[in-house]
């Protein structure tokens, strides 16, 4: 290869001018600015105002950090964040363990047809409209005619009043979330497992008959990036989680399933206290930005 060709990508004659990228980027960036950034700035401004649209006579005066102070001293806000964290640490281990088991079953050689079928069906929960997952949950966990209680009775347990007791409602949304998102973990782990070079895996299989040793020493390194992705993306998803829980429980009974997005929605659109709700949303956005930074830092190294 000649010297000139090797240096080609960095040579000034790239076939385009300095501003060419801008023309291609401008439509998308301007649109996103208008519908994403501008409203965010508007929310930021609103968060410094008293803004209750059911009382327009009082106007929307600037009140400094009053909304932030009231949010940060509001025990409901904190308990809702805490509940969201509790939900995350409950669903994540279940989804990771089940997802790994599923991925290993799908990675294991043999059973071609059944395996392809199982692989394809994993997509179904992921595509199911989140609100419809909530509707299905209402049907399955109904106290009187729900099939969940029928399964319990097969196992010799009495009926549970799922959706009107705090523990039952929390368990019900956990189960539906596990149903919907375990396939996501499974597919990511499966992708990780298929990255293990075939020769290495076969050699290891000959050397040891222990599946656990194989998993720990050979496959684990290939699973870790996927695990990081799952942990970060699921945390963002749980902070976003609204549709399914809203349909199933509306955050109730009491505040048993009042996850953060549900709570902010209620403050904004039931109480119409948009100043406070905006302050809460901005705080949520800050948490999200930290999480996204983490995601980029850990998984997009090559782009940087």
């Amino acid at each position: 290869m000649s010297e000139a060709m090797r240096a080609a990508p960095t040579k000034p004659n790239r076939g385009y001018g300095r501003w060419t990228p801008l023309w291609f980027l401008a439509p998308a960036v301007l649109t996103l600015f208008l519908i994403g950034i501008y409203p965010t700035i508007f929310a930021l401004v609103t968060s410094f105002r008293r803004y209750n649209i059911t009382r327009p006579r009082e106007g929307f005066p600037f009140v400094g950090f009053e909304n932030y102070v009231s949010v940060l001293t509001d025990s409901t806000f904190w308990s809702s964040l805490l509940l969201t964290a509790k939900f995350y640490v409950t669903v994540l281990p279940i989804q990771v363990v089940l997802g790994l088991i599923i991925a290993l079953l799908l990675h294991k050689p043999g059973m071609g047809l059944l395996k392809s079928l199982a692989r394809v069906t994993l997509v179904v929960p992921l595509a199911t409209t989140y609100a419809v997952v909530g509707l299905i949950g209402r049907l399955i966990f109904n106290r009187d005619f729900g099939v969940a209680n029928q399964f319990l009775s097969f196992a010799g347990f009495g009926p549970v009043d799922w959706l009107s007791t705090p523990g039952g409602a929390f368990a019900a949304i956990v189960i539906m979330d596990v149903w919907q998102w375990t396939p996501f973990c499974a597919l990511i782990f499966l992708a990780g497992l298929s990255m293990v070079p075939g020769e290495i895996e076969e050699a290891a299989r000959l050397e040891t008959s222990s599946k656990l040793a194989l998993l720990r020493h050979v496959q684990l390194p290939y699973l870790l990036p996927g695990l990081t992705a799952v942990m970060i993306l699921r945390s963002a998803d749980v902070l976003k989680l609204f549709d399914m829980v809203f349909v199933m429980t509306r955050g109730g009974p009491g505040s048993a399933t009042d996850l953060i997005s549900i709570y902010i929605q209620r403050v904004g659109f039931r109480i119409f206290d948009l100043g406070t709700a905006s302050a809460q949303a901005i705080l949520l956005l800050i948490i999200t930005i930290v999480i996204s930074r983490l995601y980029i830092r850990l998984l997009y190294r090559e782009v940087q």
Partner: protein, 269 residues
């Protein structure tokens, strides 16, 4: 032999686990109200099409499905038109702020819709845009443009640069290269990203709930609205649910190989 049986049982368990809630909904959509309310639940019953007849006669449901179609289709088209040139720039050029741009696109995947729903509600109220298709089409671009950009960027990067060199020697400018080389060769990625946009728009509830009233209610909003009052029409609810989920499930099966890429923004391949 024992291993094989266990493997088969495990795989069957996966199929049952992933399909059961879905199948249970479809079954309920073919049940009469009294079969649905039977306690304990019945597994074998005489199917009826009455629920489907009812929902398609109900202009509220059919209108909502039309609304969903309009919003999802137009938002998808717009995001492809706006997103593919951006993907071309990200795939082919180096420029300052590129990684910041990536970061911004990816943050959109992470952000809770409630963050934007509050200000957009107020802005749409002042602009008299509440309860219009337009406001939903535009707000759905916040997650559709990023998905188009990152899937199509990936696809564009895989197109060999030699093709471009040849075209450049023939005097083609960048726009011609984009149109004549990248768009046709990137078509599979563009199609996949369009399907994802459609699925996400079709499934969206929070924005639709907040930004629409009577006229532009989408299918998930209407399905949810059945859930109030006494004596819920379970059969109709489940039939509506089935009608909503079926098209996106078919789409998702088409792009099933790309599902992980679509949901992780390409961090794991």
């Amino acid at each position: 032999m024992r291993g094989k049986i266990l493997h088969a049982i495990g795989l069957t368990a996966i199929v049952v686990f992933t399909l059961f809630p879905f199948v249970w909904m479809v079954m309920a959509s073919f049940k009469t109200q009294s079969d649905i309310l039977a306690s304990p639940p019945v597994w074998f019953f005489t199917p009826t099409l009455q629920n489907y007849v009812d929902i398609f006669a109900d202009t509220k449901v059919s209108g909502a499905i039309v609304n969903s179609l309009i919003v999802a289709t137009l938002s998808t088209l717009l995001s492809v038109v706006l997103g593919t040139p951006a993907a071309f720039a990200l795939a082919r050029y180096d420029f300052r702020g590129k990684s910041d741009l990536w970061f911004w696109f990816i943050s959109n995947r992470m952000t809770s819709p409630i963050v934007l729903a509050l200000p957009v509600y107020l802005l749409a109220m002042y602009a008299n845009l509440l309860d219009t298709h337009l406001v939903l089409i535009l707000i759905y671009l916040t997650f559709n443009i990023p998905i188009v950009v990152w899937i199509v960027t990936d696809q564009f990067k895989s197109i060999p640069p030699d093709l471009e060199q040849a075209a450049r020697l023939d005097g083609a400018d960048q726009f011609t290269i984009f149109r004549k080389i990248y768009l046709p060769l990137g078509a599979p990625g563009i199609a996949v990203s369009a399907i994802f946009s459609f699925i996400f728009s079709w499934n969206e509830l929070l924005y639709a709930l907040v930004l629409t009233r009577r006229n532009v209610q989408t299918a998930p909003v209407v399905a949810t609205s059945f859930m109030s009052g006494y004596e819920l029409p379970w059969g109709k609810i489940m039939a509506t649910g089935t009608v909503i989920v079926l098209p996106v499930t078919i789409f998702a099966l088409i792009v099933s190989r790309h599902m992980v890429r679509g949901l992780t923004m390409g961090a794991t391949k």
